[in-house]
């Protein structure tokens, strides 16, 4: 009996040793592409490292955080990031829910509409930015032409409010298909009996949606909010292509601020400080959501 147990333990430890061995490449990959850059970035944020200096790198403590993170410029970029994240996700959830509800009904032509709605998801953010910057061109763009029918002449990229609106719209438009897909999958998997029972009990449309369907979709919505908020918060491509952060600094968000420090000023230490701050802001949100949803 004891000998058998020892054999089992030995076999188990041998197989777990193999398991560790087999997972080693994945672990090394994870360390090299996730942990190592994070640690290196944190290290650089504590130095005066710069791409345009041949002088030896010095340790400067928290100086980069003082000059880059605890500033009005950072606060303004944080505000832009939060506005983009909040409004794009809110509108995506609202529109996504309505579209998903409609598409979840088995109607004629549903698959065609699903295919059409999914199109933006196939485009890269840079392609979306390029396409919309042509359409939003205030002199020759399609939007100007459309505006002419209703007597409007708005240059969306020339004021801070409309430029921000354009960025939020593109973020909304580009990622709406993802939200629709996930919500539709969630709706299709809801237990029909509960919804039918609620209907038989006399629940009207609002009650059915607000008190039955949406609460049952809460885990799905939480997953969408987690994924989309992290993505929207670190959005860069669209801003780079569409507004370059303008007018003035009106659409400079945190990733764009980090980009400018790294690739316009060539100051890797300042860029690292901003990037570490972005991680520090996003991580707690991510963990709170994980805990809330127990995903």
């Amino acid at each position: 009996m004891v000998t058998n147990e020892i054999r089992t333990v030995r076999r188990y430890s041998r197989s777990s040793g193999l398991a560790v061995l087999f997972s080693l490449p994945g672990l090394l990959l994870l360390i090299s592409v996730v942990l190592a850059p994070l640690i290196t970035g944190f290290y650089y944020s504590l130095t005066n490292s710069s791409l345009i200096s041949s002088a030896p790198t010095k340790f400067v403590g928290l100086a980069n955080y003082k000059s880059e993170v605890f500033t009005a410029k950072f606060g303004e970029a944080l505000r832009v990031s939060l506005l983009i994240t909040f409004f794009s996700i809110l509108t995506q959830l609202l529109a996504g829910y309505v579209i998903a509800k409609v598409l979840a009904r088995s109607m004629k032509g549903t698959s065609f509409f699903v295919s059409v709605i999914m199109l933006p998801m196939l485009l890269t953010p840079v392609a979306i930015g390029m396409m919309w910057s042509l359409m939003l061109n205030p002199d020759i763009g399609a939007i100007k032409w459309l505006q002419s029918f209703v007597g409007l002449d708005i240059n969306f990229l020339s004021s801070s409010g409309t430029a921000m609106g354009a960025i939020i719209f593109l973020e909304w438009w580009g990622h709406l298909p993802f939200v629709v897909l996930v919500l539709m999958a969630g709706i299709l998997n809801l237990p029909k009996e509960i919804i039918e029972s609620a209907s038989i009990d006399g629940a009207n449309w609002w009650q059915l949606n607000l008190r039955v369907i949406i609460p049952m979709l809460a885990p799905v919505i939480a997953v969408i909010v987690i994924i989309r908020s992290v993505n929207a918060f670190r959005m860069f491509d669209t801003i780079f292509v569409l507004t370059s952060g303008g007018p003035g600094n009106a659409t400079v968000n945190l990733p764009f601020l980090a980009y400018k420090a790294a690739f316009t000023y060539f100051d890797t230490s300042r860029a690292s400080a901003i990037s570490v701050a972005i991680v520090a802001i996003v991580m707690p949100v991510y963990f709170i959501f994980l805990k809330m949803t127990k995903v």
């Binding site: 193999l18 061995l21 791409l51 345009i52 200096s53 041949s54 000059s67 061109n137 205030p138 002199d139 020759i140 240059n155 990229l157 020339s158 004021s159 801070s160 507004t243 370059s244 952060g245 303008g246 007018p247 003035g248 600094n249 009106a250 400018k260 690739f263 316009t264 000023y265 060539f266």
Partner: protein, 426 residues
């Protein structure tokens, strides 16, 4: 059932082998081989066309590494940080001389140029030499020279009876007449990544500057700088809306598609605006003239592609041989025929001049601009300064802030940069 018996030793040897093979993946380059780092441009196309002839003559193989324009300086700086010898000849934007020089990326190519009878350095105007120079060392030779000049629509000028403006006051007056007639008067870009360059040239024309070169105190609030910025902002009303938010390329697009009377832009755009296929509406209606000036000052910034040798190259002599072959006296015509815009070198002989007149009919205007050219401020902080000035001017043009607040912001932002770098006290 497959029974795999892993011994610790076998696994260790396998992993070690993989590690050794990986570490040996950096292959040695042949001695008679150079790598030329270029970006997409007519100049690099011409360089590529010179490659086979050079190889046939010298036996040195030429490999071209082409990267997107926006990546040039970053890739060079990153390679330089690792002291990489991969690139031998490097093409770079003249405005990045300071960054590349500060990082110690470039070899002093000026010494080789001065000693070469084939390159004939004496034919390169001093202003062109200056824009490749940093701290007394010449680190780049001109591959293309692209100063700002005046572009105007001959047909609209004729229709409205306008004269080619000599001063900015005349330019503004022409712009107003164009606006009154229902055309766009000007296409000077005010975008958040572009405004500082052309308006910067205007500031210098008015006798102003971004900052005092000895004290580093910002001078946007000087009478001259304010007058230039005021003039630039007064042109916003007659500028196409896309150009208010855009850069040089957007201004070119506006010239192609809209009825814009005039603009200040680099000569390099001729390859697009002078091409019937790319600009069918305007290619034969555009004319070029000297950039307007003011108060007798014709100073303008000089832009264009420079080319040099990587500081860490182990093929410096071969690299110079390639530059000498491509840009030297023997192949002047071959280089132009290959589609290169003018480097700015002074040409002799009617065949060279005729050829240049054919490929670049703006040569006379360019030569005048070259004579009045100054390099962009040679301070390591310049990229950050240009960014804040771009954004400040853009905020003023889009009415995000008032004129006075904008001037104050420009001064404060530039001062903050110099305070951070220790050149000014806070």
């Amino acid at each position: 059932m497959l029974n795999i018996n892993f011994s610790k030793r076998k696994v260790f040897v396998t992993l070690l082998s993989v590690a050794m093979v990986s570490s040996m993946s950096v292959s040695a380059r042949a001695a008679q081989e150079i790598n030329v780092f270029v970006t997409v441009s007519p100049s690099s196309d011409a360089l590529k066309a010179m490659g086979p002839g050079f190889t046939a003559k010298t036996g040195i193989k030429v490999n071209f590494i082409t990267v997107p324009t926006g990546d040039v300086v970053t890739k060079l700086l990153l390679a330089c940080q690792t002291k990489s010898s991969t690139n031998d000849v490097v093409q770079f934007d003249s405005q990045h001389v300071t960054a590349l020089a500060s990082a110690g990326c470039l070899d002093e190519v000026g010494l080789r140029a001065a000693a070469s009878s084939e390159y004939q350095d004496s034919r390169i105007p001093n202003q062109l030499k200056a824009y490749g120079t940093y701290n007394g060392k010449r680190l780049g030779i001109p591959l293309s020279t692209e100063p700002y000049i005046l572009w105007y629509r001959k047909d609209l000028y004729a229709k409205l009876g306008l004269k080619v403006p000599k001063t900015w006051t005349e330019y503004a007056s022409n712009a107003k007449k164009c606006a009154d007639a229902g055309y766009f008067g000007s296409a000077v870009p005010y975008g958040p990544a572009a405004a500082a360059y052309r308006i910067g040239a205007m500031i210098h024309n008015y006798g102003g500057a971004f900052f005092d070169k000895t004290t580093f105190q910002p001078t946007f609030d000087s009478v001259q700088s304010k007058a230039a910025i005021k003039m630039a902002m007064d042109l916003v009303y007659t500028t196409p809306a896309s150009v208010i938010s855009g850069g040089g390329a957007v201004a070119v697009q506006a010239m192609q598609e809209l009825d814009v009377c005039q603009m200040l832009n680099a000569t390099g755009w001729y390859s697009i605006l002078g091409d019937a296929k790319q600009s069918p509406k305007v290619y034969d209606k555009l004319a070029l003239a000297d950039a307007p000036h003011m108060n007798g000052s014709k100073e303008t910034f000089l832009f264009g592609w420079l080319i040099g040798i990587n500081q860490y190259s182990d093929q410096k002599t071969n690299a110079w041989q390639f530059l000498e072959y491509s840009l030297g006296k023997t192949n002047v015509e071959a280089f132009l025929k290959a589609g290169a815009p003018p480097t700015g070198r002074v040409l002799f002989g009617s065949s060279q001049k005729d050829l240049l007149a054919k490929v670049a009919p703006y040569t006379a205007v360019m030569d005048t601009a070259n004579k009045n050219a100054i390099p962009l401020y040679r301070v390591p902080e310049i990229t950050e300064i240009m960014d804040v000035v771009n954004r400040g001017l853009n905020a003023m043009a889009t009415k995000q802030i008032t004129f006075d607040a904008g001037i104050a912001k420009l001064n404060a932002d530039v001062k903050a940069i110099f305070v951070k770098s220790g050149k000014l006290k806070g």
